[in-house]
Each structure stands twice: as structure tokens, then as C-alpha cells.
Amino acid sequence: MGFERFGTVSFVAQTKVAEFIGYLDEGKVMGTQCKSCGTKFFPPRNDCAQCLGSDIEWFEITGKGKLLTFSKLIYAPAGFEGDLPYRICVVEYEDGVKVFGRISPSIPDEDVSIGMALVAVPVKLSGEKIAYEFQRA
């Protein structure tokens, strides 16, 4: 339990990496790293597809990422209508880790461009829900 708090609508409640939510509460966006082979993962995962180990530790996604691509949704799937319009995106960090998320509504459309520097910041949503968004670096 715990993961049902992730995002506007979560489709998964139970996962071995539900600690991700606790870290968001502490203000940190975290990925996982395999203790055996050192591979870094985002999204976080409990199991390593490189060495097939399951011994992982958490690392914080820090520093500036670069906006790879994005789209602004005019229509939303059921349950997300209240969030419209919003922009989903992929951001790449210097160590090659890529993170999927939303661009903060605090950045106007005209200021959004591919290659711009962004930082991942946890955001509290209504109820007990929590997520992260990309803000201006």
C-alpha cells in the first residue's frame, strides 16, 4: 500500500518501491540503483534487468535536466479532466537518466522549448495525493 497516492489517478497500490512516495513527502524525487552492478533506474524498480539482482538502493534525482520532448493535452482521459490543459514531457539528466512527468503550470507555453533546463520538484495534490513536476531550473 502507499502507491495509490501517486499522481491524479493511480492504477497501482502495491509495489516494492512504494518508498518512492515517502521520499516525495520528504521533498525528494528518487530513482533506484542496483547494488550489484551499479545500473541506475528511472522509473524506480525493485529488480535489475542487467544482472538479475534484487538488491537496490535509492538515489536522488538532482541537478538540472534537459527537456527532450513534450505535448500539451487539450483532451484528457477519464479522471484527469480537471487538470486540463497540462503538458507531459520527458527530461534527460547528465548521467543519462530520463524522467517522465509534467511541466509545471508556472511556466507559460511560450517559454517552453526543447533543450531548456528543468528541475524535478515534488508537488502536493488535493487529498493525500502527491506527484512531481518540472520547474524552471
Partner: protein, 384 residues
């Protein structure tokens, strides 16, 4: 190794809101393919049923359809790779025939998308991506392809007008395809002026949802020669996969699963992109066809836009693509789509494509993608 051939093809008319049950819908494609092949149900040694199960209220449709089509007691089973299910079905049929298990196999694809409401459908489609890490942000299929469109535009200078030109082409052929769900013209102004869905994609950049069915009858070389005056041979099959989540992607300007599947298919056939006379590309969105031009090697990376600007993908051009209207105008009933693409190429190679015929076509290709580039299938066909 023996050859494997296609001896019968069929599809229903693709429609919005089919007024019948899934068994009746699927029967339409089956019936046409069996008449085409001049076979009876007892001649079919095994059937492969292809669809995306989240649309079906019926659990395990294979059992239902095998009974309804008169295919008991022959074996039947279900294959799913969302939008590329029936191309994957063809791959399995090919394997079973090459293994000597069966001589004649029916690959039956269907989807009654209107079996569930449109809101349910959007939500289920969105769940064809990573539901744990991406769906909570409110993702939808158009938005995923839109991110690829944005990256392609930014990297190569492709424009919204280039994408609209692909829609204009699709509509020009959809008008002459009596099986298509969207039979109207789309002008450049209309395409460019349509409402945004997920920027930079607009309403007319998105394919038409439809209910439909398809069926492909596949046979061993010996049976194909015996049963069919004009068998179409499977020359090359490629299949690959790629990360379901966006952070797992190395690029957003193409689909790596398509590139890998194309490499395999060309290699197996001993052919190059220049040898293809007519192609079906998985244009669920206009950007998907643009990426297919490049992923299939019809254009160099970033040069796909030149193909559509110069009308090279129209009949009479260098490489006609989706001259049956494509998913954009013909419609995209998930499980039936690959079979419909294979049918189009089969008719082209038999010289029976009517107003859509590419004169003298000898070699054809089908590019069929599942999800946002999760599953890639590329198949190459030829004739004697």
C-alpha cells in the same frame, strides 16, 4: 525450407458502431476470406484469433469464434500484441506451418471498439503504456505520438503541414476504398485547421476508430500451389519490441522496434527498401507514417518529409504507401488492422486492388505497430 503462402483474404467494411455482436462482425472477414480461397471450415487445420481483450466482454473469444465459424474440433487460440495482434498472428501461423504442425491456418482479427463506451475506451487505451509511472500523469495515445512528432519537428524541421499532407493523401484513397470508415476528402486547410488534441497533433492527425474484422488464410507451399491460382508468398518476417515506458527510449524521432523488425524482414527476404513496390504503414497518427518512411528505409532519417512533399508516396510515386486510406481513413479496429493491411498488399500483388492498384506491383510490405512502438512487425510479400 519450403515457402509459406497466403491463399485467401477478407475483411469486413470498417464502420462506426457495428450493429451486431462480435461473432457476427468477425464472421464477415472470415466469410470473405473463405470465399476468396474457396475453402470450407473443415479445410482449416487451426485458427489464431487476434484482438485486444480489454474491449471484449466475452472472455476467451477464440472458443466462441471457432464454434461459430464451424472450426471445431481443430485447435484455436488467442494472440495479443494490441494494434499489431494480427501481424503477430501471421508470424505464429508461419511458424506452425514451417514446423509441419499444420498446412492451412486462419488468422482471424477483429475488434468491436464500440463494445465499450468512448470514455472507457480512451482510459483503456491510455493503459496500454506504463500504468504505474506514466498513466497517473494523465497520458493518452495521441499525446505519446505527439511527443514523437515534437521531437521529429525539432530535430529535422518537419512541419505540421507535412503531417497534414499525409492526412490529405490518406483521405484521397479512403474516398475510393469501399471498406473504409471515413470516405470524405480532407483538404490541407481542413487538416491544418482542425482542433488540437495533444499538441502538435490535431483531430485530423489521428486515425478513425472503427469496428471491423479481417481474416488471412495461410498455407504451406504444397497446399498453396494446390489450392490457389495466385498464391502470395511470405518472403520476410521481422518482429521486435521496445521499452513500454518513455524513459526507456533512446530516441523519439523514430520507433526502434520498427527499425529492428524491418532489418530482420529485409534480411530474411534478401531485399532492400528500393525493391518494395507498395507498402502499408501503421499510420495510427500522421507522425507514425512519417517515422515509418524513415524506419523502413524509404527515406533517409529526417528526409521523410521530402517523400510526402513530392507526392512520392502516392500511386505513381517512388513508393506508394497506404493507398487504401490507411488507418487514418480506412479505420483502425485494433485486432483487425494487421490483417486488413495484409489483405491490401495481397490484393495489390494479385492485381486485384481496383482503383487503388499500383500497376505491376510484385513486392509489398506491411508495417504494423503495437502500442506506442512497444511491438514492431514488418512483413514482406511477393508473387510468382
Amino acid at each position: 525450407m519450403q515457402k509459406v503462402g497466403i491463399i485467401g483474404v477478407g475483411q469486413s467494411t470498417f464502420v462506426r458502431g457495428y450493429e451486431g455482436s462480435i461473432r457476427e462482425l468477425a464472421f464477415e472477414g472470415f466469410q470473405e476470406s473463405m470465399r476468396d480461397a474457396q475453402l470450407k471450415p473443415a479445410d482449416i487445420n487451426a485458427s489464431i484469433i487476434c484482438s485486444a481483450p480489454e474491449y471484449d466482454k466475452q472472455r476467451t473469444p477464440a472458443g466462441l469464434l471457432a464454434e461459430y465459424f464451424g472450426l471445431n474440433p481443430q485447435p484455436t487460440f488467442y494472440i495479443e500484441s494490441v494494434c499489431s495482434s494480427s501481424s503477430m498472428g501471421l508470424r505464429v501461423a508461419y511458424s506452425m506451418i514451417q514446423a509441419g504442425l499444420h498446412d492451412v491456418v486462419a488468422v482471424i482479427g477483429f475488434q468491436k471498439m464500440s463494445e465499450i463506451s468512448s470514455a472507457e475506451s480512451q482510459e483503456r487505451m491510455g493503459r496500454g503504456a506504463d500504468i504505474m509511472w506514466e498513466s497517473p500523469f494523465g497520458t493518452m495515445m495521441p499525446a505519446y505520438y505527439a511527443m514523437h512528432a515534437r521531437a521529429h519537428m525539432n530535430t529535422y524541421g518537419t512541419t505540421e503541414e507535412d503531417l497534414a499532407l499525409i492526412r490529405v493523401k490518406a483521405a484521397s484513397y479512403g474516398q475510393i476504398n469501399e471498406k473504409a470508415v471515413y470516405r470524405k476528402e480532407v483538404t490541407l486547410e481542413k487538416a491544418l485547421g482542425s482542433d488540437p488534441v495533444a499538441t502538435p497533433l490535431k483531430v485530423f492527425d489521428c486515425c478513425a476508430n472503427a469496428d471491423g474484422s479481417s481474416c488471412i488464410i495461410v498455407a504451406s507451399e504444397k497446399m498453396a500451389k494446390k489450392l490457389s491460382p495466385k498464391p502470395v508468398w511470405i518472403l520476410g518476417l521481422g518482429a521486435a519490441s521496445a521499452a513500454i515506458n518513455m524513459p526507456g527510449r533512446k530516441t523519439f524521432t523514430g520507433l526502434t522496434c520498427a527499425r529492428e523488425a524491418a532489418k530482420q524482414a529485409y534480411g530474411m527476404a534478401g531485399l532492400t527498401p528500393q525493391d518494395i513496390d507498395v507498402a502499408e504503414a501503421h499510420d495510427c497518427f500522421t507522425i507514425a507514417e512519417m517515422m515509418a518512411y524513415e524506419d523502413l528505409g524509404f527515406a533517409e532519417r529526417g528526409k521523410g518529409k521530402e517523400l510526402i512533399r513530392n507526392k512520392e508516396t502516392y500511386i505513381g510515386g517512388k513508393i506508394p504507401v497506404n493507398v487504401d486510406g490507411g488507418l487514418l481513413s480506412k479505420g483502425h479496429p485494433i485486432g483487425a488492422t494487421g490483417g486488413s493491411q495484409i489483405r491490401t498488399i495481397t490484393l495489390q500483388l494479385r492485381g486485384e486492388a481496383g482503383a487503388m492498384q499500383v500497376e505491376g506491383a510484385k513486392t509489398g510490405l506491411v508495417h504494423n505497430i503495437g502500442g506506442v512502438g512497444i511491438y514492431g512487425n514488418v512483413s514482406i510479400f511477393g508473387r510468382d
